[in-house]
Every structure is written in C-alpha cells, then in structure tokens.
C-alpha cells in the first residue's frame, strides 16, 4: 500500500529518535544488568535507579574538548564516525515493526520503506559501515588504531559471509528478500526459528561478531590494543562510534526478530509493535548476559570459529533448506 511521501518522512524522524532513545537505555540496561550479574548495583546516582545516567553521559561527552591528533588526516578523521553512525541508523529503515494502520484517511505502513531488496540493503549498509572503522583507524595515524582497524576489518568481513549465508534458508522459505513478506509468511505459517534453528544459531554468533561485542570484541581488546580503531578518538566523536555499535546491536536484534521470530506477530494478543519491542528487548538482554558470562576469544580461535565452523554449517543449512523447499513444493 502506497503512502504519501511526507508520512514516510515523519515516520523516519520519529523512528530515528526512538532508536536514539532505545540506544540510550540499552547502555543503561547493559550497565544495570552487568552490575547485578557481578553482584553490584550499576548506575544508581543520576535519577531514580540511575535512569538519568544516559543523559548525564551524553552531556559529559558533548561538553568534552574535541581534540585532534597532530598527525591525523583531517577530513577522514572526522568523516569516519559519521559513516559508522549513518549506516547504523539507515539500516533500520526497512525493518517492519507493525501491520500498518489507518490514521484519519491516510494509510500508514508499519515500516519506513518497503523495498523488494530489504535484506540485501541491510547487508550492503553493514558492509559500508566497516569503512567507518577502517578509515577511522587509518586516519588516526597511530599504530594501535591501525592494528585495531585491521582486526575489525578482518573480523567483520569474515563473519559477514556467515551472516549472509545463514539467512539464505529464511529467504528460501519466505520466498522473498522483502522483510514485510517474510514476516507475513511467518504469521501465516510457522515462525522460522523452528525449521531454521541452525540458521538462527549461525546468525546469532555471526551477529555478536558483527557488532564486535564480547566475546568477539577483539577489534577493541583493551588489554592488547588500548581501544582499537577508536584509540585516538574522544568526546562525542568517540560517542558516535559507540552509538553506532549499540544501534547496530539493536538493528541486528530487530533483524533476527524479523527473520526468525515473526517480527510484530505475537501468540496471544494483536499488540503489533509491542510484541516486536518485547522480542528485541529479550534479544538485547541475551547479548548483555553473554557479555557477562563468556571470556574473550583468542584471535586464531575467532578466525577458526568463523571460517571452519560457522561457514560450513551455514552452507549446509542453505543447501539442505533448498532441497527441502523444492521437495515439499
């Protein structure tokens, strides 16, 4: 169903701000949950239950001096965090969060943009997002930054292959690259995490690596590389890199919910976006839980896991799914 362009524009503005808010409270949730899992309180000074902590952090970051390494390549050094941030935010444009509504006499779709290549678009934006790390590390002209960006690049490129292959089974079953079609198909038949359990597992691990979160946080392994590609960044520029990382986590969680857990469909009540939000919340919490409980991998373990375990499993899953889909239909 087509909607006027200005509705899409308004929706985009609202969604971007909602994601920023979700990001702010993901950091709060992470610090709170990690704290409880490590038998301490986490942030509890700014506001009730530390609820104002994200805003305190934001004000601190924005008010910091935007310092600049003498050797840094000026335009690229500034462009790198912007690239990361832009690709992270843009990817959410194609994720459906509701069935669509009739508001007054306008039809409002449950996603910002309904495109036939939604899934490829998300991966394309992800592959452009890698440049934020590479350019940032190179433009800083520092050994730690460069090593960090090399690691990031190798890790993200390796796991991107598994990530893309793991969703192939879902695409074959949904018979579309359009996320709205895939969600509707799951609502009409079966949630794809049941037949695509192998795909979900591969997607899950590849997703942790793609967002470089523990135990796959080698790009910024602080004991080895200080802080990886953003060693030379400070203030809100560093904040943008960090924001991009968390928003990628939220977007990929939302993508996992869309592909494997039927997006905004729920088992009991037709709550639409609330079901979607609840599932994304559970996913993000599981990520935080994993961060609290699994130690970081060694670099060779990371590469071996990606290429020798995840990739073959994803490939076999795709081939078997293809055979089954042809055989059944």
């Amino acid at each position: 169903m087509r909607e006027p362009w200005w509705i899409s524009l308004i929706k985009a503005g609202v969604i971007v701000n909602l994601i920023m808010l979700a990001f702010a409270y993901t950091t709060w949730l992470e610090r709170k949950l990690l704290g409880r899992m490590q038998n301490r309180f986490g942030p509890n000074r700014a506001g009730p239950y530390g609820l104002l902590q994200p805003f305190a952090d934001l004000i601190k970051l924005v008010r910091k001096e935007s310092f600049f390494p003498v050797a840094a390549r000026h335009p690229l050094y500034i462009a790198a965090p912007i690239i990361s941030m832009f690709t992270a935010l843009a990817a959410f444009a194609v994720i459906p969060f509701g069935a669509g509504w009739q508001i007054w006499h306008y039809h409002v779709n449950g996603e910002i943009a309904n495109v036939s290549i939604a899934l490829i678009l998300i991966f394309a934006l992800g592959s452009i997002g890698v440049y934020g790390a590479i350019i940032g590390g190179w433009a800083s002209q520092s050994k730690f930054s460069l090593l960090g960006s090399m690691r990031t690049c190798a890790q993200l490129v390796s796991y991107e292959v598994s990530l893309a292959l793991s969703v192939l089974g879902v695409v074959l079953m949904g018979q579309s690259l359009n996320l709205v079609d895939i969600v509707n198909k799951q609502g009409a038949t079966i949630w794809f995490f049941i037949p695509q359990l192998a795909g979900l597992l591969v997607f899950f691990f590849a997703m942790i690596a793609e967002t470089s979160r523990p135990p796959f946080d080698l790009p910024e392994a602080d004991t080895e590389l200080v802080a990886g590609y953003h060693t030379e960044y400070g203030g809100m520029r560093w904040g943008l890199f960090q924001t991009a990382e968390y928003i990628n986590l939220i977007t990929l969680s939302a993508l996992a919910v869309t592909l494997f857990f039927a997006g905004w469909h729920g088992p009991y009540a037709p709550l639409g976006p609330l079901w979607f939000l609840l599932k994304v919340f559970i996913f993000v919490s599981v990520f935080i839980w994993i961060r609290a409980s699994v130690p970081r991998l060694r670099y060779d373990q990371l590469m071996r896991f990606g290429w020798k375990i995840l990739l073959p499993v994803a490939t076999i899953n795709a081939v078997v799914t293809a055979l089954l889909v042809v055989w059944i239909s």
Binding site: S116, I120, I128, Y131, V157
Partner: protein
C-alpha cells in the same frame, strides 16, 4: 501534476548529482598520489554508479553493486593499502609521452563508439515515456533471467570464480610450504 513535476525535478537532480559524482570520483581515482585516497574515490565512484542503477529501476543491481564491489572488494583494497602503507616517498610522476597519447586516443575512441552506439541503437526511445513494469529489476526477475536466458554465461562465470578461488588457495598453500622449508635464523 505539480507533484509529478516535483518528482521529475528530483529525478533530474539526483541524476545530475550522481553523474557528476561518478565523473569526479573517476578523475580523483587517477589523480590522487596517495593510494588510500584513490581507493576511497573508487568507492565513491562505485556508489554513484549504484545510484544511477537505482534511477534505472534496477534496485537489485544497485544493492549488489554496493554490497559486492563497494563493500567487499574495496575493503580488501583498503586493507592491503593500509597494511603496506602509502608510498608517499616515491609518487608516480607519469609514464612516457607515448603512453599518455595512447591513453587519450583510446579514451576518445571509446567515447566515439559510445556516442555512435547510443545514436544508432537508442534512436527515439530515449525519453521518459518508455515504461517498464513493476517487476523489472526485482530479485525474482533477475533470478529467473539468470536461470533461463543467461544460464550458460552465469554458470561459466561461476566456474571462473571457482577456479580463481582454488588458485588463491594453491598460491597461499604453496608460499606457506616454501616458507617452512627456509631455515629460520
């Protein structure tokens, strides 16, 4: 009608922007002395090509262009350039004169060929009035073409890529065994 003409202006504006970005970044690729900047300009070139594909309603080709070329291939370029480091101490100062003349002649010949080909083939069909249906350029449309009309070319390409992959593995494995045979100091 006003909305339609606004849309047309938008298409023209995007086309002009993408076309000039394409030319500008192509010139930038060959004029930068620092290979890192050249590679970035090449990414810009591939990106603006993708925008042009989008205007031709081939969204799948555009996304694949960004994903495969601007994303995966150019990451490798940048990776290697950043590893080796820019050779700023010996920038390339230009080849011999005959090379320059030859390049200009070849480029001119290609330009003439393009103009002639468009003039002969396109004729009167270069207008907004030509319509493509909604399925044009979608993944299913392209997939069907690949597996019916262009099956042979598609399969040959995949075999060439497979050969390249095997060659890469053999080259890598070969250099590793020879490196092992050399006694380390």
């Amino acid at each position: 009608m006003i909305v339609a003409s606004v849309g047309n202006v938008l298409v023209w504006a995007v086309w002009l922007g993408a076309a000039f970005a394409c030319l500008g970044s192509a010139v930038a690729v060959v004029s930068f002395t620092n290979p890192f900047y050249s590679a970035l300009a090449l990414i810009g070139n591939l990106g603006s090509l993708a925008v042009l594909y989008l205007l031709l309603s081939s969204e799948f080709v555009a996304a694949a262009q960004v994903l495969v070329y601007a994303g995966a291939v150019m990451v490798m370029f940048l990776f290697v350039i950043a590893y080796i480091g820019p050779r700023t101490e010996s920038p390339w100062t230009g080849g011999p004169t005959w090379q320059t003349i030859g390049a200009v002649l070849a480029a001119g010949a290609i330009l003439v060929e393009i103009v002639v080909a468009i003039g002969l083939k396109a004729g009167g069909s270069l207008s907004h009035s030509h319509h493509v249906d909604g399925a044009f350029g979608t993944p299913s449309y392209i997939g069907r073409l690949f597996l019916t009309d262009h099956l042979l070319a598609f399969e040959i390409t995949s075999i060439v890529l497979l050969v390249a992959a095997i060659g890469g593995v053999i080259l890598g494995a070969h250099s590793r065994t020879t490196a092992d045979e050399v006694p380390s100091l």
